[in-house]
């Protein structure tokens, strides 16, 4: 009973924050609202007896990623987001597709509710840090190794894209711009 009440509390908070995130025109407010979504999700994870995921949610999303997002917003000094008149008809299409998606989600919920109840083992150790660690280094050893390659490659890639342009490349930019100017004339 308490669990249900808590779920609705946090879920409601998450949905409100999500709506506020989409609604606000100032990107900074949107970012802060997103933090609210992450924190309420993390609370839901706690009520579902998954403390590890809850902690990771706070650490990675609310902590690291959102700090980065806020930094970028501050550094870029963004203006308020102005609606694009040119793409107004897309709102109608998007709204229509959104309704379809919502109907689909409700259908899935309905089907799950009608499905026979699966008994939950009260002694299950799923979601605990120890269990996750053990699974990572036994059953899921190979995925962990692949993630290693993936992360290394992502670092190489981002360094490569962020590096200062070399002299020949800068010359290419100039050349290109001159060419474009030539086409305009």
């Amino acid at each position: 009973m308490v669990g249900t009440a808590l779920f609705f509390l946090f879920a409601g908070f998450a949905i409100m924050c999500a709506i506020s995130m989409v609604y606000h025109k100032n990107p900074l407010y949107s970012a802060i609202s997103l933090v609210g979504v992450f924190i309420s999700l993390s609370c839901i994870y706690v009520t579902l007896a998954a403390p590890f995921i809850a902690a990771v949610q706070i650490l990675i999303y609310a902590g690291a990623i959102m700090v980065l997002v806020v930094f970028v917003i501050m550094l870029l000094n963004l203006d308020d987001d102005r609606p694009l008149n040119r793409l107004r008809y897309l709102y109608a299409i998007g709204g229509g597709l959104g309704v379809v998606l919502l109907a689909q989600t409700l259908f899935v919920f309905y089907a799950v509710l009608r499905a026979p109840n699966q008994p939950v083992d009260p002694n299950t150790s799923a979601g605990k840090t120890l269990t996750i660690g053990q699974a990572m280094y036994t059953e899921y050893l190979l995925p962990v190794e692949i993630v290693g390659v993936l992360l290394m490659m992502a670092i190489i890639g981002s360094v490569m894209l962020a590096r200062r342009l070399s002299q020949p490349q800068l010359e290419l930019v100039v050349e290109r711009e001159e060419e474009l100017r030539g086409e305009d004339d």
């Binding site: 689909q104 259908f107 899935v108 309905y110 089907a111 799950v112 009608r114 499905a115 026979p116 150790s125 120890l130 269990t131 053990q134 699974a135 280094y137 036994t138 059953e139 899921y140 050893l141 190979l142 995925p143 692949i146 993630v147 390659v149 993936l150 290394m152 490659m153 992502a154 190489i156 890639g157 981002s158 360094v159 490569m160 894209l161 590096r163 342009l165 070399s166 020949p168 490349q169 800068l170 290419l172 930019v173 050349e175 290109r176 060419e179």
Partner: protein, 518 residues
């Protein structure tokens, strides 16, 4: 510490020899990085290391064909079957060709060669994991490894706005597609309680599978169709293709058109044909099977029509090839649906082999065509309009004749690779005897007829148009020459003597041996 938990530990079951080909490729990537950090001025050595690594991996893979390898290993995460073997060869071939094609470009535009080759090798590693992965986790990680490497490679020409646009579009839309794919995987996991494809197939086949879970399965399957459909450039998820292919550096475009597409097909086949099979008498699997085959058949028709019709209207050669690659994804989907509809296991394996063979023929032809486009495009990919090809036919006959050959093979002229590929996928689809699939094959044949316009236009432009501007014949370097020779021989070999290879691809060699062993 809870001692009883440790007693339940799963044994990791590491089997290094099974993933040796993948590991060789990844290690070659690391060696390239290390070498490049000591000799940053080098241009060719890292490419040579990459080619050696890819060749070594291919040799190891060849020894595993029919060798004594378990059908699944790493707790069922890695499958060893013909699907993995045949597609892995396609990936290795594509990567090696890309290294050769990009020699010109690396030289011309001062690309950081070490990082570029390392990214290419890691992307290949990801592709091979995608074809070998028998677990949704492995498939997703392989796809991400491949995608992130490709996003960066598309934006390598940082001084060019078009390249930036290409990388940004690919990155944002690709991440979106990955999110769909992941959501779909989560729903499938929710419905079946497993990420392992063999177990998922077993759960679906169980006669007492809860009747209401098809809702989750259907939603999950639809999400995965979107995710994979984006990667293979299937309509209506193809919108990104022309812009990304046009803006990316030409060698990278060559890679993207042949490699990631084939990799996505490998995973797509494994998840849908092997992971969500049709089981007689089970309602849930019937629903699921009927809906995905129907949806894919309709989308394949749209893909073929959109790709071919839009290609007619292009003035840029790279955009034309991008639309042609969309159309080719549609033809390969015909074989895919044939595999899904197959009535026997043997027919299914043959249909899967036909898709692998199709991707190989497309890769061979495409690599050759893009090699020539790279050579002619000059610095910054400036010369990629049809006008730039005006009248070069008799001035650079070698280039013009081989490009014409590749165009004819893409069109599917008899005696070329493209013809054999199309025949195989169409016949495997017709074998199912389903009305919708027959209609799909008819659409595909009509689409091929339409494609004659823009493939032949290329030939007409090269041989029968007057050139108004001055023409300086580009110097054919050794590497590009090698690519052209391999591609021309490949087109004729696959078109004329492909019997042995097709049987290799479809013979259930690996599986039979492990069964006998047990």
């Amino acid at each position: 510490m809870n001692m009883f938990l440790f007693a339940e530990l799963t044994v990791p079951d590491p089997n290094v020899s099974v993933i040796l080909p993948e590991m060789i490729v990844a290690v070659a990537g690391v060696i390239v990085m290390l070498y490049d950090s000591f000799f940053p001025k080098q241009r060719a050595v890292s490419g040579a290391i990459a080619i050696i690594g890819l060749a070594l991996s291919a040799v190891v893979l060849a020894t595993m064909w029919g060798g004594n390898v378990p059908a699944t290993s790493w707790n069922g995460m890695i499958a060893h079957d013909n699907l993995r073997l045949s597609f892995s060869f396609v990936f290795l071939f594509v990567s090696a060709m890309t290294v050769l094609i990009s020699t010109v470009w690396v030289e011309r535009e001062n690309v950081p060669a070490g990082e570029y080759h390392a990214l290419l090798l890691f992307a290949t590693f990801g592709m091979m994991m995608m074809s070998a992965g028998n677990d949704l986790v492995i498939i997703f990680l392989g796809l991400e490894t491949l995608s992130i490497a490709t996003y960066v490679m598309a934006g390598l020409r940082r001084a060019d706005l078009k390249s930036n646009e290409s990388a940004m579009k690919y990155f944002i839309l690709g991440s979106f597609a990955s999110a769909f794919l992941l959501y779909g995987m989560a729903l499938i996991y929710g419905a079946t309680g497993s990420t392992n494809l063999t177990e998922i197939a077993g759960k679906i086949a169980a006669p007492n599978f809860p009747v209401n879970f098809p809702a989750l399965l259907l939603a999950g399957g639809a999400m995965m169709v979107i995710g994979f459909g984006f990667k293979i450039a299937m309509a209506p998820f193809h919108i990104w293709t022309p812009d990304v292919y046009e803006g990316a550096p030409t060698p990278v475009t060559a890679f993207m058109a042949a490699g990631p597409k084939a990799a996505a097909f490998a995973s797509f086949l494994r998840v849908f044909v092997l992971g969500l099979p049709l089981v007689a008498g089970v309602q849930a699997s019937g629903y699921l099977h009927e809906s995905w085959t129907t949806a894919l058949a309709v989308m394949a028709m749209v893909t073929i029509i959109v790709g071919n019709v839009a290609a007619i209207m292009q003035d840029n050669v790279k955009r034309m090839l991008a639309y042609s690659s969309i159309a080719h994804a549609g033809y390969a989907l015909v074989g895919f649906i044939g595999a899904g509809m197959a009535k026997t296991d043997q027919a299914r394996d043959e249909a899967i082999a036909s898709v692998a063979f199709y991707m190989l023929t497309y890769a061979v032809t495409n690599m050759g065509a893009f090699a020539i486009v790279t050579l002619l495009s000059q610095k910054n990919d400036r010369r990629t309009q049809f006008e730039d090809y005006n009248g070069i036919g008799f001035k650079s006959p070698l280039l013009a004749f081989s490009l014409s050959l590749f165009m004819l093979s893409l069109f599917g002229l008899p005696l070329t690779a493209g013809f054999m590929g199309k025949i195989l996928v169409f016949s495997s689809a017709l074998g199912s005897g389903n009305l919708l699939v027959t209609a799909l094959v008819v659409v595909a044949v009509i689409g091929s007829a339409i494609s004659a316009y823009y493939y032949l236009r290329m030939i007409v432009v090269m041989f029968f148009r007057e050139r108004t501007t001055e023409w300086i014949a580009p110097k054919i370097t050794t590497a590009i020459g090698a690519v052209l020779v391999i591609a021309v021989i490949g087109v004729f070999y696959l078109g004329l003597f492909s019997d042995g290879l097709i049987q290799r691809f479809s013979r259930p060699g690996a599986a039979v041996i492990t069964k006998a062993e047990k």
